[in-house]
């Protein structure tokens, strides 16, 4: 009986040991199935078509071209491989500009036929209309209905998820924004983080340490939304005045806040690494006549390099994944950043800001899940490299 009971307890404990692995698998599974769905979505909004005049020989357009056409950035068909004629765009809202209410019918029952005839008589027209509206025998041609392609997403330089007729899901600006703001955050945090770590592990008196330790812990404990709030109220206006910016919400504000948030992780890990540097190494160096500073530079830091690197990489991980603070202070402009003082937008902030408005199951929703997958893999790579770095160190010490 007792044996049986122990076996059960043992089984339960074993199962609970694998819970984290299960959660990771579930995360991968759910994010992937939703995210991969994006590539099965039609480029043009579901249920809609782009109709052309019969004479027009353009048969396929990329999402970016479609957007440029409807934004009137492209005004002639020859720019996108057609014949030399001006483009007229037509959306459903425009219907009353072309037809009177009598022509459309009292319940708009003739809309389809009217539009079809309009397209048939205007050679340069491209019309964005619901497919069900056009009569089946309409004398029009349709732009080929293709699905969203990998290259449009991973090499696309525009993120315009709500654009009609064709939303743009280019992740390059978001990825660039994330890396850009994290890079600066780490550059800001590095001198502080390393100095404090060295100070706490090598220089500070016991009393100073007992003051600094809780300070770092509290810095780690402050919620990101409070950092964001502080950044929004204090840092953003300061930067706006200090650098004379049109808007204070910028990559710089984001990276300052992120630097503060990445510090505790960096300091704790690096300090632990330096403290675990064997006493004998230190003593040998001091006995040879080196000063404490020389010992730190030439002995302690090199011997704990892998721990310090882990700390830095973990700090990067924290900065890359941080959501709320960044969302609140970076201004959220989805453009590829060229300087640090302009607004930019990161992957996590995009997910947080847009998921609430994206209709479930739609292309936009799936695109956000795809961003989640990308973010997950970035942090996975970061974590794996930390594992690798710290495992290498153990080998070296033996």
């Amino acid at each position: 009986m007792k044996k049986f009971f122990e076996a059960i307890v043992r089984g339960v404990l074993t199962c609970s040991g694998f819970v984290t692995s299960l959660v990771i698998l579930l995360i991968i599974g759910f994010l992937f199935t939703e995210g991969a769905g994006l590539f099965n979505e039609p480029m043009v909004e579901e249920g809609y078509v782009l109709a052309l005049n019969k004479e027009n020989d353009v048969s396929s357009l990329t999402a970016e071209q479609i957007k440029a056409v409807f934004d009137e950035d492209i005004v002639n068909w020859k720019e996108i491989g057609g014949r030399d004629m001006p483009i007229t765009t037509f959306r459903l809202e425009d219907v009353e500009r072309y037809f009177t209410v009598e022509e459309l019918g009292s319940e708009y029952e003739h809309v389809g036929m009217c539009i079809a005839s309009l397209i048939a008589r205007s050679p340069g027209m491209i019309a964005f209309v619901p497919q069900s509206m056009l009569p089946a025998d309409a004398e029009v041609r349709y732009i080929d209905d293709s699905t969203i392609s990998l290259s449009e997403v991973f090499a696309g330089t525009e993120w315009f998820p709500t654009a009609t007729p064709a939303p743009l899901f280019g992740i390059v600006p978001l990825l660039a924004g994330t890396l850009w703001v994290s890079l600066f955050a780490i550059l800001f945090a590095l001198p502080f983080g390393l100095s404090v770590a060295v100070y706490m592990s090598e220089v500070a008196s016991e009393r100073m340490r007992s003051v600094l330790k809780p300070v770092i812990e509290l810095l780690n404990g402050i919620p990101s939304v409070v950092y964001g709030f502080f950044g929004l109220i204090v840092i953003v206006p300061l930067l706006q005045q200090g650098f004379n910016l049109p808007v204070g919400e910028s990559g710089l504000a984001g990276s300052i806040v992120l630097a503060i948030m990445a510090l505790p992780t960096m300091i704790t890990v690096a300090e632990d690494a330096m403290r675990s540097c064997p006493r004998s190494l230190r003593e040998a160096s001091l006995a040879l006549g080196a000063t404490r500073w020389q010992t730190i530079c030439k002995v302690v830091i090199p011997s704990s390099m892998s721990g310090i690197t882990s700390g830095i990489v973990l700090g990067i991980g924290r900065a890359v994944g941080e959501t709320m603070a960044v969302l609140m202070v970076t201004g959220n402009a989805a453009i590829i950043p060229t300087s640090i003082v302009e607004p930019l937008r990161t992957i996590p902030a995009t997910i947080a800001a847009e998921l609430g408005e994206a209709p479930a199951g739609g292309a936009h929703y799936q695109a956000l899940f795809l961003l989640g997958v990308i973010l997950f893999f970035i942090t996975l790579v970061i974590n794996m490299s930390v594992e690798y770095i710290s495992s290498r160190n153990k080998y070296k010490l033996r």
Binding site: S16, S195, V211, I222, P223, T291, G372, L375
Partner: protein
């Protein structure tokens, strides 16, 4: 006659370098402490005037430009409790397994790798995951249940790691002594190992609650309500939460000027909760340490 030895120029320079470096380090460290006190001081200074009994016990009113934050406080406490129910039992069991049962080898390595990876997953990814699994797939809707489960998953790695480390630090002689007296492995864990590890486990658990109380991204899409003035009555209700409330107040709304004092107050309450949690865990740690001596 003895010649007086002057320190060489090299020796002077290296002393000088050391002094400069150490002063720089001290300055940086004090600067970081200054940052913390600037943030805390600013929020306490601005928020203290807003705090009142009414603020803590009334629901928001007039489109969130007046009234209190009681529902948000209750919501956050509900979420903390909910996530504790989810994460603590599983996390502690997992920690026990890692420290006491798992044979040293690839199993432990694998689980530890997964736990570390999970702790590195950004909170917004947990939010996405919680939404896909709990809200949509399991159809819990936006609810305290979905929010607690999501937050529970998020705090799992922390709970596991503190438990494991607490138990790992117990000397093997304790285990051997107990086993030698004829106790079974489970008895040893239950009577010897867990009681000894408890202080550190508890402080770790409390700290994980602190982390949960401040998380916003995971509850954005799983639980948090923009405005839900009545108190939640079941775990299938939405609720307001302090961090989300702070986010909403400071980024959107009808009347920013009127909202700002409330935002300061909300931030202060959130900070106070975190401070209490940190102090409590510190005090507990000291108390247990003294008792052990």
């Amino acid at each position: 006659m003895k010649s007086v030895e002057y320190p060489s120029r090299y020796a002077v320079r290296k002393r000088y370098a050391q002094r400069v470096a150490f002063w720089l380090f001290r300055f940086f460290s004090l600067f970081i402490a200054f940052i913390l006190f600037a943030i805390l001081g600013f929020i306490i200074y601005k928020g203290a005037g807003v705090l009142s009994w009414d603020f803590l016990t009334k629901a928001p009113s007039d489109g969130m430009t007046s009234g209190g934050i009681f529902p948000a406080i209750v919501g956050t406490l509900c979420l903390m409790a909910g996530s504790a129910v989810v994460a603590f039992p599983i996390g502690i069991m997992s920690g026990i397994y890692m420290s006491e049962f798992a044979s040293k080898g690839w199993v432990v390595k694998f689980i530890r790798l997964m736990t570390n990876n999970l702790s590195g997953v950004p909170s917004i990814v947990f939010g996405l995951f919680g939404m896909a699994l709990f809200v949509k797939y399991l159809n819990f809707g936006d609810s305290i249940l979905a929010g607690s489960l999501t937050l529970g998953m998020l705090s799992l790695p922390l709970v596991i790691r503190t438990t494991e480390e607490a138990l790992k630090d117990i000397p093997d002689s304790m285990r051997e002594g107990s086993l030698a007296l004829g106790a079974s492995k489970l008895q040893t864990i239950w009577r010897v190992i867990l009681p000894m590890g408890m202080p550190r486990i508890i402080t770790g658990l409390i700290l994980s609650l602190g982390r949960v109380s401040g998380e916003t991204a995971p509850i954005l899409f799983t639980c948090a309500a923009y405005f839900f003035p009545q108190l939640p009555t079941s775990i299938f209700d939405q609720c307001m939460a302090l961090p989300y409330h702070l986010y909403v107040l400071s980024t959107s709304g009808t009347d920013m000027a009127a909202q700002q004092p409330i935002a300061y107050g909300t931030a202060l309450v959130l900070i106070v909760i975190i401070l209490i949690i940190n102090l409590l865990s510190g005090a507990l740690r000291r108390y247990f340490e003294n008792r052990l001596k």
